[in-house]
């Protein structure tokens, strides 16, 4: 997308798509608005604004990041401005979209620029609730591998930086169909997601599928699905205080054109004084020339007084291009004065990490609105 004319045309296409989607949702609702049963709820940060007569919820999140990394100029970035629209249609259908304006403004010591700004339809799907515990989803959605990818918004995660494990080896988005829900298994809940992707035929918007997204990452490798099929299971125990997950995806990437198999595991444990979570993945390629890629992280969060949380994370990741081990250690503090608002400050260092996630200080302010 380096050609500016092509890029603007792409943005214009996206705007038209977005506008058409919004009108399609709102106009019929306005005409059908008749049920006065619901009272509008008072606005609450982190829950969006609800229009009961249209069954429409409007919300999103925004975050500003600051980073000062080794061999990079310190900078401030208006990182994400995401808009959510969700609308119930009758009792069984729901539409949801997330449109994101990314890197809207970057300011460093020498200049301010909007040249990296981009608009992306992160998610656009319809859900159909078929029967108890089974929902069908059609459209573009987040790939169900691990928990971080499914809930990755800055105000909802504990660190500014994202673990390499959650982006390095698979596409963060999929386009196609998904079956998901919750069933009871041995008196506990089992969440499941089963999906089939045909991005080659269905992807009508560009996705942010850079394999390594951290500031300072020099890799331009992308993980765009061509086709994929897979799923994830997440088993909840001890009144939801412990969850264990497993995922498997068989997929082909656009470039390098190659077939892969990815196996993932994840866990979360929430105690009174500490919370642990972690994910691990192992990816193998059908071609013996492509080395395996694997790694994982463990993260601990300790609540402190006055809405403060101490966060520590240790990650090891073996990249395939170039083939090397990367180690990352992240220590941070998170201040959450109220629900939906998060201020973070963290320090990161590691080994062999200069190309993917350089050492330095990162900070952010994120709000879910």
């Amino acid at each position: 997308m380096s050609n500016p004319r092509r890029r603007y045309r792409h943005h214009a296409d996206l705007l038209v798509w977005g506008l058409a989607a919004v009108l399609a949702w709102i106009l019929p609702a306005g005409a059908a608005a008749a049920d006065g049963s619901w009272q509008a709820q008072p606005y609450q940060l982190g829950q969006g604004l609800y229009f009961p007569q249209q069954s429409l919820r409007v919300g999103g999140y925004a975050d500003i990041h600051f980073y000062s990394l080794d061999k990079h100029r310190a900078a401030l970035s208006v990182e994400d401005l995401s808009l959510f629209l969700s609308r119930d249609i009758g009792t069984h259908w729901k539409l949801f979209s997330e449109t994101e304006l990314g890197d809207a403004l970057v300011i460093d010591s020498q200049h301010a620029t909007t040249k990296d700004a981009n608009i992306d339809v992160e998610r656009l799907y319809a859900d159909y609730h078929t029967r108890s515990g089974i929902t069908l989803r059609f459209g573009k959605f987040l790939t169900p591998v691990g928990q971080w990818n499914l809930v990755h918004a800055d105000p909802l995660v504990w660190t500014v930086s994202r673990p390499l494990t959650t982006t390095g080896s698979f596409s963060r988005h999929a386009s196609g169909a998904m079956l998901y829900g919750t069933v009871s298994l041995m008196h506990n809940d089992l969440d499941y997601w089963l999906f089939a992707d045909d991005s080659k035929a269905l992807a009508f918007t560009r996705s942010h599928n850079l394999a390594f997204t951290d500031y300072g990452a020099s890799s331009t490798l992308r993980n765009d699905f061509q086709h994929a099929i897979g799923g994830q299971f997440l088993y909840h125990m001890l009144d939801d205080r412990l969850s264990l997950g497993a995922s498997y995806v068989r997929y082909a990437l656009k470039n390098p054109q190659q077939q892969y198999r990815l196996t993932g595991i994840d866990f979360g444990w929430s105690g009174r004084h500490v919370e642990f979570s972690g994910e691990g993945i192992w990816r193998t390629a059908d071609s013996p020339q492509v080395p395996d890629e694997y790694g994982g992280y463990v993260q601990a969060v300790v609540p402190l007084p006055r809405h403060l949380y101490a966060v520590g994370r240790y990650e090891r990741y073996r990249n395939s291009l170039p083939s090397q081990w990367v180690t990352l250690r992240t220590f941070g503090i998170d201040y959450r004065p109220e629900s939906g608002l998060s201020l973070k400050l963290e320090y990161r260092d590691g080994n062999n990490n200069a190309a993917l996630a350089p050492n330095g200080v990162l900070a952010s302010i994120g709000v879910l609105f």
Binding site: S37, W38, Q39, Q41, G46, Q47, G48, Y50, R57, G59, Y61, F84, S86, T91, H92, K94, F96, R123, D127, H129, T130, R131, S132, G133, T135, L150, V151, A153, P155, L156, G181, T182, S184, H187, D189, D191, D239, D240, S339, G340, L368
Partner: protein, 171 residues
Amino acid sequence: MPSLSSRRLVVLGVLVVAGTFARYAKAAPAGESKIAVIVSSHAHDAQAIDPGMLRNIYLKKIFVDPQGHAYIPVNLPPDSRLRQAFSRAAIGMSELRLQNYWNQQYFQGVSPPYVLGSEAAVVEFVAKTPGAIGYVKPCFVTADVHAVLLLTLPAASSLQPAGACPDRATH
């Protein structure tokens, strides 16, 4: 007659203490606080709802019943003592944990149950709305709604501030 006067005072004191005990024993016996989970009495086939199902309906993990009819759970305002007791008894989460849960669900496009302002409003709404599920103190249950589940709260839970129940006869 100072001795007679003292005897009268003692008898009066004993009566007051006994009366107070009797009153409290009647108003809030240990383990008697309950929450009634209600659906419309006019529902054609009101399903039995077990605690696990109730939890998943309120967490919006289950959207429709086995026949494909939509569930519409309704909540009381966040500062309601009954809601807080319900969250602990039925969902097993504090309001803070629930808030975090709903923030994550909101990101995934799922909104928390609708909020109605009072128990009377919950009864009225549930009575009129197919698929609606609410919770109230048992003394609010009317002929228009059907209690499908009674949640027993720990003895320490007190949900009965004076005058909290409507004047009409309880069911």
